[in-house]
């Protein structure tokens, strides 16, 4: 019985020891599991954070995709706009080239009109000179006024400060000075026909013009205009020194010479005729 009791006690102790050991092991295991749970909890937290980060990245990515899509759409729109603008630009360049060409043509036309206008203005001015000369010469039957007018034409329209007006003495075959301005008092008052430039011009009936204008040669004679009526020389205009600002004769001066050649002769002749008629009337 004693043996059975001691056997039973040993058994209980053994069981107790086993149980204690098991409990101890269980507690160890429990502790390990606790640690494991804690570590898993941390890992779970980490994973949760990572998941949240990934979700953020994904949503950012989505936003970027949307942005990229909108940018692409904008780019396409701009591209279309560029194409349209290029076409418009090409059209405008074409129009610009056309307008440039038109502008060049207009400029050329304008220049041509301007030079034509200047030409016409010069012609007008020349005609005015001729008109004034003719009008003034034929505006009177007074000999003195015709002679004064002739001198005024030479001074104001031709631009001379020294000139002499000669009339032909048919009997003596000389040119007699009837009026002058600017000439020295000892100027040749009587020129034999054919003598010197003035006499030669009067004999030939041809207008003499010094080339270039001179102040020395032929006694400073710049031009000599024989006055002619019905092809017959009746006198001469001798033009000596020109005004300082006048460097030479122009086309209008030559036209004035032509006009003076006939109109001055006629005007002077008319005054003589008129004077004769008046004298006859008085004599009656």
């Amino acid at each position: 019985m004693k043996d059975s009791r001691s056997g039973h006690g040993a058994y209980v102790r053994k069981v107790q020891e086993g149980t204690q050991s098991f409990t101890h092991d269980l507690l160890g295991e429990l502790e390990r599991l606790h640690v494991l749970v804690a570590s898993l909890q941390v890992e779970k937290e980490t994973l949760h954070d990572k998941t949240r980060g990934i979700q953020q990245v994904l949503s950012a990515n989505e936003a970027l995709r949307a942005l990229a899509a909108s940018l692409e759409a904008e780019m396409n729109r701009l591209h279309e706009q560029v194409v349209t603008l290029r076409a418009a630009n090409e059209r405008y360049e074409g129009e610009h080239a056309q307008l440039s060409a038109q502008l060049d043509r207009t400029r050329a036309e304008s220049q041509s009109y301007s030079s034509r206008y200047a030409e016409i203005e010069t012609q007008n001015s020349n005609l005015a000179n001729l008109y004034v000369a003719s009008y003034r010469l034929h505006g009177t039957l007074d000999r003195k006024e015709v002679i004064d007018t002739l001198q005024e034409i030479i001074a104001n329209l031709i631009g001379s400060e020294e000139a002499g007006l000669y009339e032909l003495d048919e009997h003596m075959q000389t040119l007699e000075l009837i009026a002058s301005f600017g000439l020295a008092p000892d100027a040749q008052r009587s020129v034999p026909l054919g003598s010197g430039r003035v006499g030669q011009a009067a004999r030939s009936g041809e207008i003499f013009v010094a080339k270039p204008a001179t102040s020395e040669a032929d006694g400073g004679l710049n031009a000599c205009i024989p006055l002619k009526l019905d092809g017959k020389v009746t006198g001469a205009v001798a033009i000596y020194r020109l005004l300082p600002q006048k460097s030479g004769f122009e086309e209008v001066d030559r036209e004035l010479f032509e006009l003076l050649a006939t109109h001055a002769a006629m005007a002077l002749y008319c005054t003589s005729l008129h004077a004769r008629l008046r004298a006859q009337e008085v004599a009656r």
Partner: protein, 127 residues
Amino acid sequence: MKKKILCVDDSRTALFMVTTILKKEPYEIVTAHDGQQAVEVASAERPDLILMDVIMPRMTGFEACRELKQREDTKAIPVILVTTRGEEENVETGFASGCNDYVTKPINAQELLAKVRDHIASREEAP
């Protein structure tokens, strides 16, 4: 209203030439035959511009210009002298007498018209 221009010259041919040129434009022309008459006409007519020869009897263009520029009623009227000699001393004498500009004989129609237009326009712009 037409602008009035007083043309002064003792030479009837020169005066006729100037008026013929100016008649192409819408100007009213009045004339005088010497400096003294020019001063009288300018005072009575108050032209917008005076175009005056230099060498004239009774009163030269220089003297008339001085007189016009001294008178209260005519001093603002621009004067263009028409000189026979365009040498520097003549031009200086002209400007010393108070003239605003000058042209030389023989008259160039385009030059004359340009100067006349300029001076009339300047007078219009003046306050």
